[in-house]
Amino acid sequence: MMKEQIDKIKKTAKEEIENVQTIKDLNDLKVKYLGKKGELTLILRQMGNLSSEERPIIGSLVNEVRDTIENRIKEKEEELEQEKIKEKMAKEKIDITIPSKKTVLGSCHPITQIINEVEDIFLGMGYEIADGPEVETCFYNFDQLNAPEDHPSRDLQDTFYITDKVILRTQTSPVQARVMENKKPPIKIICPGTVYRSDTIDATHSPVFHQVEGLVVDKNISMSDLKGTLEMFAKKCLGENTKIRFRPHHFPFTEPSAEVDVSCFVCGGKGCRVCKDEGWIELLGCGMVHPNVLKNCNIDPKEYSGFAFGFGVERIAMAKFGIDDLRLLYENDVRFLKQF
């Protein structure tokens, strides 16, 4: 008799829970079945009328039904909660293509970007970054670098003079000499910096421009090491497929000296506007540090050898970013700068 009553409660409760629509109605059902005056509680109260054999059976039955109803309600509760959130989200749907509210970012100048890239490559290879004065003495800019006053190589550069002894450095090479004077080998440095030459401003010239100089001095450094180093650099900076080509040249501070071409990183060597259809772009000058330069800096050329290289930053920046007029780099029009 009582058992049927319980089964009935179980059945109707299940149905009612199933059909409930709101959390409030669900709470009402909870009270109705499980509350202090709920239907199951009422049944438990009637248990006193039962025999001692029946009592535990009915008792466990009631508990079982109670658990079932409780679980159902909990499940339903979660269901309703989720529906509610879903509904809320549906209302909150937005247009993701509306412009963002980000903080506007600035950017590094293209010259800095190239210098940073070069620095990172060489830092990774164990080089330090060295620095030196831009207003430099002839002693460091020329004499120490094996270019005495009557040396023809001084003609290659149109120098800005401050006095007959002080100039604006025409190259970053004087930093080499300064470092070698103050440091014992092994020396592995690069020196990025501003240099000056008396060139009128046009699409490919500027009296102020930037170079990166590299120097390695140690025992048993060879020209093959130089080639390997530059090959590595070219691949990292300009792309893994880059090839390099050494051509003999002359610089007073290196012997043997070379000019280095890289396969055009715009067309890959097929020939284009940037490489003037030659497939190669002249990139840098380099060579084995001249024994006279080592001697000048108190390094024994019998014990040590070294290599040095140097290149123009603007040239790489222009080729890499496709900039066709050098002046853009110094006009600093934000419409240009923001593109980098």
């Binding site: 903080t103 970012l105 600035g106 100048h109 010259i111 800095t112 830092l123 164990g126 080089y127 330090e128 970054i129 004065p133 831009e134 207003v135 430099e136 003495t137 009557d150 040396h151 023809p152 190589s153 800005f160 003079y161 401050i162 006095t163 002080v166 604006l168 092994p186 592995k188 501003t194 009128t200 102020v208 390695v216 140690d218 048993n220 450094i221 020209m223 093959s224 090491d225 080639k227 390997g228 180093t229 090959e231 590595m232 080509r245 050494f246 051509r247 003999p248 040249h249 002359h250 012997e255 043997p256 084995m288 024994p291 110094y330 600093n332 029009d333 934000v334 419409r335 700068l337 923001k338």
Partner: protein
């Protein structure tokens, strides 16, 4: 240095195309800049014969001709005056092309068909010097015997095809400023035999005399003139040079003058030794004196310009006057004239530095000076003068007296360098045998005896082992170099402290929306005037030889560069511009420049901005960010009223102790106007070098508080000129340790507060790290603060 391939062929067998030759020479160090293929542009131009000439029906100045061009007879209308029936002439046919991209097509001239054009020498890019019998403003008239060549290509008939190479010769190789040197390089590079037709010039010798035909030579400056050889040629017949010589000179870019002058130029091109020829009659006392010029001396050079000389400059003079600037240019007064009868050939060698200086000072650079300034061999001078005489005899234009005056104060020293193949292989990273090295060196005419290398006289650039290594490598082939990696002792690639700060600051500024710029460190006096800092001019580092008056001094402040950039962006209507520049200033602090040293260079971060949302406090925020990124905690802000570039009420400086590390604020409105800007411009200058100096090392951790903070708000009314900074000082001083944060949240002005009064509101945050604070602890503290504010700043508490 330009030369024709044809001339090079005199020295060796050239069995490759001109393009390949250029590539091969470039790879062995004689870089070819350009290849010019002469005659290539002339197409479809043939030999023709004029059959008839008739008047043009409608034009007085034109005639109608019938011309036989071999396979055809064509009608050509021309305005030329110098033609007659039977003349043999070059005809550019319909559809032909001429130099400089000129195309010839048939057409009508005043209604009459014209099928082609007769050519002048100019139209074929030929010169009057090569064809002296031709006129420049008429048709080229070919010799009668060419009648048998009607219809043949003019390029073949006149032999116009010529490949010309333009070399970039590095300054260490003056020997390659000669055909002989280039011929040698060509032979070695092509691995062909070098057949030097002038091999035996040094073997020719004539008797050395003190005086020839009354001519004497004295060197008064033996430090600047190492050798002077003179030879005299009598009964000279001045006239034009033969066509082959004119043509070779032209290929090398030298214009023909007359046979004697041409010989000197020809020898210079052939052997690399510049020569000179004087008319003996113009040499007063027939006495050549090589001396330094006097201070006030002047000379009019061959180009007709009067030149001021000085005692740095070496001259060739007679007993009264200078007749040439040694090694640079001859004087007008001793020029070879049409009626010159007796000449003196000069072959001399001068100190390279002296020539370089002289050429710079008088402002002329000639074929001659550009060779001498690189340092020439005294041995070659004798060969050159012998060659000149040989040419005179070959051309039969004079009688050379078989004697020479040879003043030779400084004999050249030959050097010898030990050949150590191991060291060379180590230096260049090769595995060449000793024999391979010797072969290369001998091909380059170096002597190798008992492991000693003796360079030839023309290779003064070979001084030591490294030079030998380069010679070996360039002929072996730079392209065969291996690629290896440096096996060096361990080194650490690490940025220094200042480099790290610079990198962090740059990164932070970009995140603040700032755009990096690059500016020139060279500015002008005008720039200083524009920022009201003319006083800096006297102490500025000045360039002696500036490019223009816009770039004359090194900047001591970066403000002009930043202002210029802001102004240029403003003029382009760029809005809301925020810029930064990390660059240098140059200050001659302690007369470093005067003492031949380098001045002080500081790295400076310059900020510059205008636009909406930009005011003093935006700028202040970024300056504070820079200090934070640089790990600078303690600093002091002071109002700066006397900086002429800034707005006197809106400028501040950051101090650490008494050291000023930054100045920032609004640019003075008048200064902004100087740059044609009417908006508010904000600029900051932060000394990066000083940031490095004061940057603290690693930060120390403070525990995160366990007990809650207590907040109290306070609002006071003070006089307008009481700064927020002063109020905060008073609050902090009184509150001592428990005060954690003072936050300004309102400044309010209203007439009701009273004249020149403002209300300032703060939120104060107190915390004890060891316990929860109670009202009993805070209240007395707040009272003390209020009392002090009242007492010290005459503040009134607002309720």
């Amino acid at each position: 240095m330009k030369t024709s391939v044809e001339w090079l062929k005199e020295y060796t067998n050239v069995d490759v195309t001109t393009k390949d030759l250029a590539d091969i020479l470039t790879m062995t160090g004689t870089k070819v800049e350009t290849i010019e293929e002469k005659g290539k542009e002339i197409q479809n131009v043939v030999v023709g014969k004029i059959l008839t000439i008739e008047k043009h029906p409608d034009a007085d100045k034109l005639v109608v001709t019938k011309v036989d061009i071999g396979e055809d007879i064509v009608q050509i209308v021309t305005g030329a005056k110098n033609i007659k029936v039977g003349d043999i002439i070059p005809v550019a046919k319909d559809g032909s092309s001429l130099p400089k991209g000129v195309k010839i097509k048939k057409g009508k001239l005043r209604g009459v068909d014209s099928c082609g054009m007769m050519c002048s020498i100019g139209e074929l890019e030929l010169s009057k010097e090569e064809y002296p019998e031709q006129i420049e403003d008429g048709i080229m008239i070919l010799p009668k015997e060419y009648e048998s060549k009607l219809g043949q290509d003019i390029v073949d008939v006149l032999d116009l095809r010529e490949d010309i190479l333009d070399f970039e010769i590095t300054p260490n190789r003056p020997d390659c400023l000669s055909i002989e040197g280039l011929g040698r390089e060509t032979a070695v590079s092509l691995k062909n035999e070098f057949k030097n037709p002038r091999k035996n010039l040094d073997k020719i010798d004539v008797e050395n005399k003190k005086e020839i035909e009354g001519l004497r030579v004295d060197i008064k400056a033996p430090d600047l003139c190492y050798r002077y050889i003179a030879r005299v040629v009598k009964n000279v017949k001045i006239g034009p040079s033969p066509k082959w010589m004119v043509r070779r000179l032209k290929a090398c870019g030298i214009r023909s003058i007359n046979n004697i002058v041409d010989i000197t130029n020809y020898v210079m091109l052939e052997l690399g030794e510049p020569m000179h020829a004087f008319d003996i009659e113009s040499i007063e006392g027939k006495h050549i004196i090589v001396r330094r010029a006097n201070k006030d001396e002047k000379i009019t050079t061959l180009d007709g310009v009067e030149r001021q000389l000085n005692d740095d400059i070496l001259v060739i003079s007679d007993e009264k006057k200078a007749v040439a600037i040694a090694g640079v240019m001859g004087g007008e007064n001793s020029e070879i004239e049409k009626d010159t009868k007796t000449i003196v050939f000069e072959a001399a060698v001068f100190n390279r530095g002296s020539i370089r200086k002289a050429s710079k000072q008088v402002g002329i650079r000639t074929e001659s000076s550009s060779r001498f300034e690189k340092g020439l061999s005294t041995e070659n001078a004798l060969r050159a003068i012998n060659r000149a005489v040989e040419l005179v005899e070959e051309l039969k234009i004079g009688e050379a007296i078989p004697e020479k005056i040879d003043v030779y104060p400084k004999k050249e020293q030959t050097i010898s360098i030990t050949l150590n193949p191991d060291r060379i292989n180590n230096l260049i990273g090769t595995n060449l045998t000793k024999e391979e090295m010797i072969k290369i060196l001998e091909d380059l005419e170096m002597k190798v005896e008992n492991d000693k290398v003796i360079p030839p006289y023309f290779r003064q650039d070979i001084e030591q082992e490294a030079d030998i290594a380069e010679e070996v490598l360039r002929i072996y082939g730079y392209d065969k170099l291996n690629s290896t990696q440096v096996e060096s002792s361990a080194t650490i690639g690490l940025r220094t402290k200042i480099q790290k700060i610079e990198k962090d600051v740059r990164c932070m500024l970009i995140n603040c929306g700032m755009q990096e710029i690059y500016t020139y460190g060279i500015i002008s006096k005008k720039d200083l005037e524009k920022i009201g800092a003319t006083n800096l001019f006297d102490s500025s580092i000045k360039i002696i030889n500036p490019l223009s008056e816009d770039y004359t001094i090194m900047r001591q402040t970066t403000i002009p560069s930043m202002m210029e950039t802001l102004a240029s962006n403003d003029s382009k209507k760029n809005q809301d511009v925020k810029l930064f520049d990390i660059s240098r200033t140059y200050v001659n602090e302690n007369e470093e420049i005067e003492n031949g040293n380098v001045p002080k260079e500081d790295k400076v971060i310059t900020l510059g901005m205008y636009g909406k949302d930009v005011d003093f406090y935006t700028l202040k925020g970024i300056v504070e960010n820079i200090l934070q990124v640089s790990n600078i905690v303690r600093f002091e802000l002071k109002q700066e009223v006397e900086n002429p570039s800034y707005h006197e009420g809106r400028c501040a400086s950051v101090y650490i102790g008494i050291d000023k590390i930054a100045t920032f604020g609004q640019i003075h409105p008048i200064i902004a106007q100087n740059y044609k800007m009417s908006k508010e411009i904000y600029v900051a200058e932060i000394n990066l070098s000083k940031l490095e100096k004061y940057s603290k090392p690693a930060k120390k951790y403070t525990p995160i508080p366990k007990f809650p903070a207590v907040e109290r708000d306070i609002a006071i009314v003070v006089d307008e000129d009481v700064t927020v900074g002063k109020i905060e000082d008073v609050i902090t001083k009184q509150a001592k340790k428990l005060l954690e944060k003072v936050k300004l949240f309102d400044i309010y002005r209203d007439e009701k507060l009273g004249k020149n009064k403002k209300s300032v509101a703060y939120s104060l945050q107190f915390r004890d790290p060891n316990k929860t604070l109670t009202d009993e602890e805070i209240n007395p503290l707040m009272e003390k603060i209020v009392q002090s504010l009242e007492k010290e700043l005459n503040a009134k508490l607002r309720v």
